[in-house]
Amino acid sequence: MPKLTLADLVKIREKTKRTTEIREGGDYRAKITVHMGTCGIAAGARKVMNAFMQIMEDKEISDVLLTNSGCAGLCSKEPMATIEVSGQAPVKYIDLTEKKTKQIFEKHVLGGDIVKEYALGIGSEKTDY
């Protein structure tokens, strides 16, 4: 490794930050939850998760939180994901494929426009009475 210049230092900082920023909490512009119950995994949720990860890596995006949770209850429509753009209501997408994943990421996560043809509905389930 040759000696670092000031510019190299900044480069290393920015590059490493992209991979470590996830540890810091902070503000995310959107949160993607892939539903990974047994049903989801069987229907291909792992592929959907990997597709989201690949897109984020390719685009060098670090301010979108990608996480997973259990079964969303509608096992016949898996794989499913919930997209929650900061300040907007969460949207559930059903019957996902890698191709749909890409479109949803471009239009909804980055652009803020819901991809209506793949969406199940807006909002959360009622959890208290």
Binding site: L6, I22, R23, H35, T38
Partner: protein
């Protein structure tokens, strides 16, 4: 992280604590098990396992923090790992039973920052704890590492650096509390005889019983100490630094050496750093564990390869230090504060803390406390907040009695002073010192005479023997204390103790001797009645000094509740207990060696101690 994975993104980072406490609780095995299970579940491309330095909540190790989400798992066992990996990392269902529940409550708290232990802490010196792998310089750089160095080398003159540190109000974290900027100015202005060399030293000779602040910083974030020293070198005009660290800290030594090697590879140590003409390198010197070597002049002698003995000051090291050259010695935690001050400014730093003590202080919280661990708190926080909120109170429903700060050089602060705001000056007003940050909590079962004897025995043992007051004086004090705890104390002993303490304080050669009487003086000041009970009534109120205890058996309880279970007699090694099964038992006082075993084994509380 393998080289291949260096720039890859992962959706989950598992921050496994690999501080010394967690390592001794098998955190390396936990890490291996996690990696194995992650591979098995085919998650190796999605989940990254990172080893970090000390997280601080050592009581609950081995620890794992899951990011994003800050989810806190504790006291993990190898057999828990498959379940945890499948449930949480594969299926996204955090596992409650591995989370922390406060002692009084049943509901687990999932998020680290919601836990009382972490809530009141303010991290400056420990700002990278749990967030970076200390063996990866890139992760340090990602958290603004070496940014302060680039700033001082390209934008600031040495005078401006010194001025900034002066303005910040930072005082030495090793114990004395001398203003750091002022020390730097002295070294900067000192002229070096024949040749312009000056030296930077990092004092990592942490020797107080129960203290592990420096150790944890060196283990968790070695680069912040290195960067601080580089900045110090630029400020005072030095090109060589030494880190003096105890050889009993193998993990700290190894991580330091890795860090130094990586910094050299990047050209952050060596010649012409960032092409600014500034040269600096650092050597690690390992100490052999003599307590006195934490005293700066003894440390200098030890680095020079001589016997670690102190010498009179002045001249101070700033004027004539290592090989008689001007030398700037600061403690590990002081160095760890430097780059934060440069990055965020003196004004920010001085906005934290009290009038005379700025910033934060790292304490190792140990003793009779629920949450043992490493805590960093703003100056001015009260003892109550540290003990009750962060520390979670005293275990077993016992009452808080006193806290010892500053190790063997410090003093005992009684419960009446629990609302004392902690800073350099308030601690010295009550007769203690800040010290390097050991904080030993004591409950009602602690005998203060015994505590004073313990600390004095420690300093007596560690006294280098060079000056008479320390060598002979502490010995005499130790003999008096021993006699008191054995019930042979005389009424005039207390005055004699005080006399000796005050003369040692005034006449010893170095800090070790000057402060050695502090534990005795403070316990005499706040717990004189306990000393008097030992001397006049020949009783130890906490029943710690066994020779003063009398054990008896309440025959009624023994017979009616215990039905003469005979356990005490079976366990008595002195054959001092009479009785048979289903009969009341009795202790023959002449034969009793006061070992207390009968008291410990009795399940019915029939054995009484007085």
């Amino acid at each position: 992280m393998t080289e291949k994975n260096k720039d890859k993104t992962f959706r989950i980072h598992l921050m496994v604590c690999a501080g010394t406490a967690c390592v001794s609780n098998n955190s390396f095995e936990i890490k291996e098990a996690l990696e194995k299970e992650i591979k098995k579940q085919d998650l190796a491309e999605e989940v990254l396992v990172v080893t970090t330095g000390c997280n601080g909540f050592c009581e609950r190790g081995p620890l794992l923090v899951v990011q994003p989400g800050n989810i806190f798992y504790q006291q993990l066992k190898l057999k828990d790992i498959p379940h945890l990996v499948e449930e949480h990392f594969l299926k996204g269902r955090p596992v409650e039973k591995f989370m922390y529940s406060p002692p009084e409550e049943k509901t687990p708290i999932p998020i680290l920052s919601d836990i009382d232990f972490f809530k009141k802490q303010v991290l400056i010196a420990l700002q990278n704890r749990g967030l970076i792998d200390p063996e990866k310089i890139d992760e340090y750089i990602a958290r603004d590492g070496y940014r302060a160095l680039s700033k001082v080398l390209t934008e600031m003159t040495p005078e401006e650096i010194v001025e900034e540190i002066k303005k910040s109000g930072l005082r030495g974290r090793g114990g004395g509390g001398f203003p750091t900027g002022l020390k730097w100015e002295f070294v900067r202005n000192a002229s070096s005889p024949n040749g312009g060399e000056k030296y930077i030293i990092c004092n990592g000779d942490e020797g107080d019983p129960g203290a592990f602040m420096d150790r944890s910083i060196l283990e968790a974030d070695p680069h912040c100490v290195i960067e601080g020293m580089l900045i110090g070198g630029k400020a005072v005009g030095a090109s060589q630094g030494f880190i003096y660290v105890r050889n009993e800290y193998p993990l700290a030594v190894s991580r330091l050496n890795i860090a130094l090697e990586q910094a050299r590879e990047y050209g952050l140590l060596g010649k012409n750093i960032f092409d600014t003409g500034f040269d600096f390198d650092i050597k690690v010197t390992r100490g052999a564990g003599a307590f006195v070597c934490g005293e700066e002049t003894a440390l200098l002698a030890s680095v020079e390869g001589k016997l670690g003995e102190p010498r009179p000051r002045p001249p101070y090291p700033a004027e004539s230090g290592l090989w008689d050259k001007p030398t700037c010695i600061n403690n590990v935690e002081t160095w760890a504060n430097i780059c934060r001050i440069i990055n965020r400014g003196a004004k920010w730093f001085s906005s934290i803390g009290t009038e005379t003590s700025k910033g934060t202080k790292v304490f190792s919280l140990v003793g009779k406390i629920n949450n043992t661990g490493l805590v960093e708190v703003p100056m001015g926080i009260t003892l109550r907040e540290i003990i009750e909120d962060i520390g979670g109170g005293i275990p077993g429903g016992k009452k808080f009695k006193a806290v010892q700060t500053g190790g063997p050089s410090g003093g005992c602060i009684p419960k009446e002073k629990i609302d004392l705001p902690i800073d350099y000056d308030s601690l010295s007003e009550v007769g203690s010192i800040m010290g390097s940050g050991g904080m030993v909590v004591m409950d009602e079962d602690t005998c203060m005479v015994d505590v004073a004897k313990y600390f004095l025995t420690f300093t007596q043992d560690e006294s280098c023997g060079k000056c008479t007051p320390c060598r002979e004086g502490t010995k005499a004090m130790q003999q008096i204390l021993t006699r008191i705890t054995e019930g042979k104390g005389k009424e005039e002993d207390l005055d004699l103790l005080e006399d000796l303490a005050n003369s040692i304080k005034d006449s010893a050669l170095c800090g070790l001797g000057n402060t050695a009487p502090n534990p005795v003086l403070t316990t005499l000041r706040y717990f004189r009645d306990e000393y008097e009970a030992h001397i006049k009534e020949k009783k130890c109120p906490a029943h710690i000094c066994r020779e003063l205890n009398t054990y008896t058996i309440d025959e009624d309880i023994c017979l009616n509740k215990g039905h003469g279970c005979d356990l005490c007699r079976k366990n008595c090694s002195a054959d001092a207990i009479l009785g048979e099964k289903k009969q009341a038992h009795k202790i023959i006082q002449d034969k009793c060696i006061k070992c207390g075993v009968c008291y410990d084994v009795c399940n019915f509380g029939a054995v009484k101690v007085d």
